[in-house]
């Protein structure tokens, strides 16, 4: 029987993967958003703003990795 368990450490890892996926999809979305009629922004500006916000969250996740205590590892 497979008794594999997961905890906060794996959660943090997969959360960071989620943000990586977001970054991967952003360039395509930035162009599509810029193509919308009611959006005046350029794709570069959209990408830049979104990247800054995600960068902030990546820094937070780095702090979580640095300071979290994963004392109940398998």
């Amino acid at each position: 029987m497979n008794n594999k368990t997961v905890g906060p450490k794996e959660g943090l890892g997969f959360g960071i993967i989620g943000m990586g996926l977001l970054l991967a999809f952003l360039p395509r979305a930035a162009q599509q958003i810029a193509d919308l009629d009611f959006v005046a922004s350029e794709p570069f500006g959209i990408l830049l703003g979104a990247t800054y916000v995600i960068a902030f969250l990546v820094i937070l996740s780095g702090l979580a990795v640095a300071f979290a205590k994963f004392d109940d590892e398998e």
Binding site: N2, N3, K4, T5, V6, G7, P8, E10, G11, L12, G13, F14, G15, I16, I17, G18, M19, L21, L22, F25, L26, R28, A29, Q32, I33, L36, F38, V39, A40, S41, G45, I46, G49, A50, V53, I54, L57, L60, S61, A64, D72, E74
Partner: protein, 228 residues
Amino acid sequence: MSTEAKAAPRKRSKRLPLTYVIAIVPVAAALNIVGGYINGVLKLPIFLDMIGTMVTAVVLGPWWGALVGAITNIVSSFISGPIGLPFAVVNVAGALVWGYAHSMGWMRKNWSFFLVNILVATVCSIFAVPIYVFIFGGATGHFSDVMTAAFLAMGQNLIVSVFSSNILVSLADKIISGYVGLAIIEALPTNLTETTKLPKSEGLNKIIIPVVGVVVGAAIILIFLALQ
């Protein structure tokens, strides 16, 4: 058993079977996507795309909730268009606040649970407003655009107008999401929720408390709409 073992009771492990995570994460993301889709179709003055995020952040932890938030907005950008993708950071931020507030024990009492939902709404608005203003110019086609227009007509500037409309919608949305999430967590198997630190309720209160929370959330938005 030795005296030492008796004196120090074994700490409950935060680790969960992988199968639970594999089951909860996609279902929570699907719940968010369906909620957001229903909201879009019915043009409701809320979002309904963070119920699964709340459940995951509380039951599994903040970063699992963040993963659900990211998956939700990536997948819904393929279904409802690219507008939702930049707002993934709002979903991720909401998951982190719910998750860390829960792990710090801030959600044990009914009043503190309510306050945490208000905190989540405020943090989500802080992340959402720059996206609304600088990427979309203040409008995304959501119902809250009507409120933004009303605030603009009162003479407020764009950032204040977007923040005012967004915080009202976000307050109602996060209170509703929080209490619907609480009802879902109450219904999950006990072995999955034994480490949660949520308001304890018995019998009929298990239903009454979430219903009252949802009614309060709905009342906030209805009162504001009536006053406009």
